[in-house]
Amino acid sequence: SQKIEQNSEALNIQEGKTATLTCNYTNYSPAYLQWYRQDPGRGPVFLLLIRENEKEKRKERLKVTFDTTLKQSLFHITASQPADSATYLCAGARYGGSQGNLIFGKGTKLSVKP
């Protein structure tokens, strides 16, 4: 079955360091990947989108890569802050009808310590 896998359930880092989260996909070739942030008791909030023909996208302290050979996306937060502590979800989809529905990974819980 089609899967989006985020193998790290939790990641603990020190403030100021770069956090790197991994997303892998199997039995699947998503046309694009999206990354969301989810805080406790809240719905996910969109952060970044990257298409399969794009290698890298940046937004402020965030960077995402898409490697179709490795079937992997990396999500980086540079100069991390305690306020970045949250669960980060990776999701993929293709285009058109039900194929356009996002398949989500389980998420990685990031904790940034002061």
């Binding site: 046309a31 969301y36 999701a91 009808g97 529905n101 389980k106 998420g107």
Partner: protein, 114 residues
């Protein structure tokens, strides 16, 4: 702009009872989704509407779950009868059109089935 509204925020019921959740998407968003998020998991799609028509309900347990989107705006999701394994957060999301567009999520309804 106003976000996706959901109610209630919390619901506690006993197994075999029925429950209904309500969602009001962002104005003008044609596509509406209901997701189920079990603790520690990523959101799992239950049903997708395009305007007031169903696009994908392949993962909706139709023997107990039903959903409608009358007039292509508000939507309700119903569970009857509820089972213990239905305990989860039910998230509603919308997006303007299909395609590589971000989803806007509501805060969800946390359901506990005892």
């Amino acid at each position: 702009e106003a976000g996706v509204a959901q109610s209630p925020r919390y619901k506690i019921i006993e197994k075999r009872q029925s429950v209904a959740f309500w969602c009001n998407p962002i104005s003008g968003h044609a596509t509406l989704y209901w997701y189920q998020q079990i603790l520690g998991q990523g959101p799992k799609l239950l049903i997708q509407f395009q305007n007031n028509g169903v696009v994908d309900d392949s993962q909706l347990p139709k023997d107990r779950f039903s959903a409608e989107r009358l007039k292509g705006v508000d939507s309700t999701l119903k569970i009857q009868p509820a089972k213990l394994e239905d305990s989860a957060v039910y998230l509603c999301a919308s997006r303007r059109i299909e395609g590589a567009e971000k989803l806007f999520f509501g805060s969800g309804t946390q359901l506990s089935v005892l």
